[in-house]
Symmetry: C2
Subunit: 539 residues, 2 copies
């Protein structure tokens, strides 16, 4: 393949199966420009059942090669993908801007984060940390029977289906964390692109495929399927060769895939991140001390990403009193100063409108502030709704996620009400506590409640912004995700797509390098209960 020059890739509307264009089906769909509401000109070919099968079979074939590939080679490939994405960043940003209505600067930052993800996984893979080698040497005196030579490591689960999100087209899209972590784990990936930005999906897929091709890696390790109906995803999740699923999106979408996956004759695991309310609990002392600053921070948190982040705070619990007036004023003013873009697509737009219509019927909820009107077909004016903790507890719709630039302020009049409200909130990706030093006992009470309900607890910060690091946990108990034991962001995400295999009394020559006695990969291993990077003396 020639080196890229200018606009090297065209959007053709094809599916990309193991590096090859495919448009077998007759059903097509079009993208919609969120600013104009106008459909695009490219007809995207929805994948057929046969195309799903071809992608899954290619992935299974590639898995055989991947399983035997040295982890260093996988690291090289991940870096090459990152390099190519960086190289084509202007082209990709230009396309994504048209598809999503997100700003070029936000998309450029998102691409930095995306390539960082690939490089961070490359580092993990090259270190071998993810293989978690554990070795127990033979012990004739072991109780109750002699212990054989046991050597355990993690191995790829097999082909992974990835469902890209609409709201973060690079970092949770075709080139997102699920794709990066699954490839890092040595799993082939079949991505179902989001119908909301098919052109961006196709370009990303072409860039990734080119990198795979240039690296002489098995082409079947990556495919993109397009589609605007549920049938493509359903066929993918129920395909017998698919062994795990990664998903980021709505509760309805994720739960539907989960239901399909657990009803297979061979059930498979679904890692669905389905968003959440991300409550913020503000203590009276915190509001007294920082009302204006908190108001501004909440305004920023509900408008960043045009209000469409899965960590957007949906409910902020604030104490009654004079500080609340200052807080709301600051929030309202900042909102008026914020400039945001349209919503991502018509579905999100209509669902948000419908949610707000339903909420408007509830007695005890008022609209306190509005941002500036947003232009365009899918422009949605930011909204601040105000209610009491009591009303919030009575109406489940007030405790649910409303995807877009909307926040509900729930006022409470004493600590008991605050703790009751925290208890009533559904499980979330995050929970945020805004407090002062004097609040130690209240914070402990809140923490006891929210630790059971969230994957990340933020102190005096805002939940939006999910750093890609080792210590990140992006995942909480259901309904935030379908598997709270894992994360979709950060290096631990790789463990989603690995499972342990133990080799018993295996001959040295046949052991995988990670488990060989002379430790050729120089890994830190857990040997007889102690971490060690040493070689094991031959018995």
């Amino acid at each position: 393949m020639a080196e890229p020059t200018g606009r090297a890739f065209e959007v053709t509307g094809a599916n990309l199966i193991a590096g090859r264009d495919s448009r077998a089906g007759s059903h097509t769909f079009y993208s919609v420009d969120p600013r104009t509401g106008e459909p695009g000109t490219v007809a995207f070919s929805s994948a057929t059942r046969e195309e799903v099968d071809a992608a899954a079979c290619s992935a299974a074939e590639a898995s055989k090669v991947l399983r035997a590939l040295p982890t260093a080679k996988i690291g090289t490939l991940l870096r090459r993908i990152a390099d190519r994405l960086d190289e084509y960043c202007p082209l990709l940003v230009e396309q994504a801007e048209l598809d999503t209505g997100l700003s070029a600067s936000a998309l450029t930052r998102e691409m930095q984060r995306t390539t960082w993800q690939f490089r961070a996984f490359a580092e993990v893979v090259e270190s071998g940390w993810h293989l978690r080698p554990i070795i127990d040497l033979p012990d004739p005196d072991f109780i109750p029977v002699p212990r054989p030579d046991l050597r355990r490591m993690l191995a790829p689960v097999g082909p992974v289906a990835v469902f890209a999100a609409s709201n973060v087209p690079f970092a949770f899209g075709v080139s997102g964390g699920d794709t990066a972590s699954a490839l890092a784990a040595g799993c082939a990936v079949v991505v179902k692109g989001h119908q909301s930005h098919p052109s961006t999906s196709e370009l990303l897929a072409r860039v990734i495929s080119e990198a795979i091709n240039a690296d002489e890696a098995p082409k079947g390790m990556f495919s993109l399927l397009q589609g605007d109906q549920e049938d493509v995803g359903a066929a993918l999740v129920t395909h017998p060769l698919i062994k795990a699923v990664g998903f980021t999106g709505s509760f309805r979408g994720g739960k539907a895939l989960f239901d399909l996956a657990v009803r297979r004759s061979e059930p498979i695991v679904v890692y669905a991140e389905m968003g959440s309310t991300n409550p913020v609990f503000v203590t009276p002392a915190a509001l007294d001390a920082r009302a204006e600053q908190l108001g501004q921070a909440v305004a920023d948190a509900i408008t960043v990403g045009n209000g469409q982040f899965c960590t957007k705070p949906g409910v902020v619990a604030v104490p009654d009193g004079p500080a609340r007036v200052r807080f709301e004023e600051a929030l309202g003013q900042r909102l008026l100063a914020s400039s945001i873009g349209p919503l991502l697509n018509q579905k999100i737009f209509h669902e948000l409108e419908s949610d707000l219509r339903e909420i408007a019927l509830i007695e005890g909820v008022t609209e306190s502030d509005r941002g500036v009107d947003v232009e365009g077909a899918l422009g949605f004016t930011p909204r601040v709704l105000v209610t009491s903790a009591g009303v919030l507890q009575e109406h489940s719709i007030l405790r649910e996620e409303h995807f877009g630039p909307v926040v509900i302020l729930a006022s409470y009049s004493n600590e008991e009400q605050l703790l009751e409200l925290a208890t009533a909130m559904p499980n979330s990706l995050t929970a945020t506590i805004q407090a002062e030093d004097c609040d130690v006992s209240l914070v402990r009470d809140l923490e006891e409640i929210v630790t059971k309900k969230a994957g990340r607890i933020i102190y005096n910060g805002i939940p939006t912004g999910v750093a890609v690091t080792h210590a990140m946990q992006h995942g909480g108990p259901f309904p935030a995700t379908t598997d709270s034991s894992s994360t979709s962001v950060g290096s631990s995400a790789i463990f989603r797509f690995l499972r342990p295999v133990t080799f018993q009394n295996y001959p040295e020559a046949l052991l995988p390098p990670a488990l060989q006695s002379d430790n050729p990969l120089h890994l830190e291993r857990f040997v007889n209960g102690v971490m060690s990077a040493d070689a094991i003396a031959k018995g």
Copy 2:
């Protein structure tokens, strides 16, 4: 509670809820002596829905205390449970012998293993290894946005339901690995005892409760529910306060619980170990070299535990030829020399009889050997069936687990047939390769197939015997288990009942000890990408 003297505990037939006897229901059932077929005299009270609720609520209450308990205290409790089990070992073995028909010597060994499990988990917990602390310190230059202070550790998932197995009454029973690992993780446990040995279950529960009581730990952290119908288990798995399930038993039982758990409004994870065929693949060179030894080893492997281990080899693939005659002769002779006991219960007995009746109708399957007849109502004569790889591939019942002292020998005539047979076998807990040094290429081909299908690969050994170590993997892809990413044996089992929580920008004073900068627990932590037991310099 008084110190134990003699037969300190009586079997009363009650459920044991948070340390208290409970018999609210009217439905009772009786144990059956597997040697005589006679029912016992104690009427066991099946738990009612209210009793299930009481146990789950007590567990949830206890969880609050457990969450705050220092891990060192949990270690002490686990050791106390182990000490008490050792102390009462003669009483427990005597009872279990009556309940299960297993030999006193086997049961005594099993108790050694059981208390070892508790002590091994105590060691894990005391080391803090299971908390997996990961710390990323703030980084203002982080891309694309500054990184906050992020500190991640594992925390208990909440109350766990454990379903005890019939075949290993101590080590996979009320005092089994699931109970030990869940308690070690800091989770309260509600055990559903197996209806096949209710007296043993009750005694074990009384011993564990006494240890909890003596340690002044929250009584609700352990309850035992009895029952001989599906309703008790169903009520337990669908109880909203239960957050995870551990199960060891039949495919039908495990799959039924899985189906209930994933259909809850809040689905929960089920770790069901449902047994498997555990195929053994013998190369021509191995059979030539070790026919007699292999025949004896297979006879031992199918009779240990009266043939009722989940790792019993169900299918042995052997090459055609003269060595096979020697192998079968040795197997038959050893079988005649083996003395085994009756099956565990009528259900197992009738299912095995029914399986063999169905198999007897298949053309191309013959019975080659029988062991000695086993006395007693549930005595079952060990059986060796012989067929060809081709016939085995045609009839799925031949590839399934038959729980009891039965093995199917599948003969093959060339390597291609052997690999086809390996490919046709269902997923298993284990796969065993019997080979010689000259077989490197064949072993690699076999390994490529079985690595995808099993959790433990044994070279020149037998699958029975599951050492309780760090490197053990007891779990394979479905249908061997419902979650191949975890193990039910070995220290890694603790991770089933933990989930990650990240604290962002948390004040030192409020952080859990495992994440505090001065590292008061002296843990090995992953700090900024490097393992370190050092304290973190205050910024």
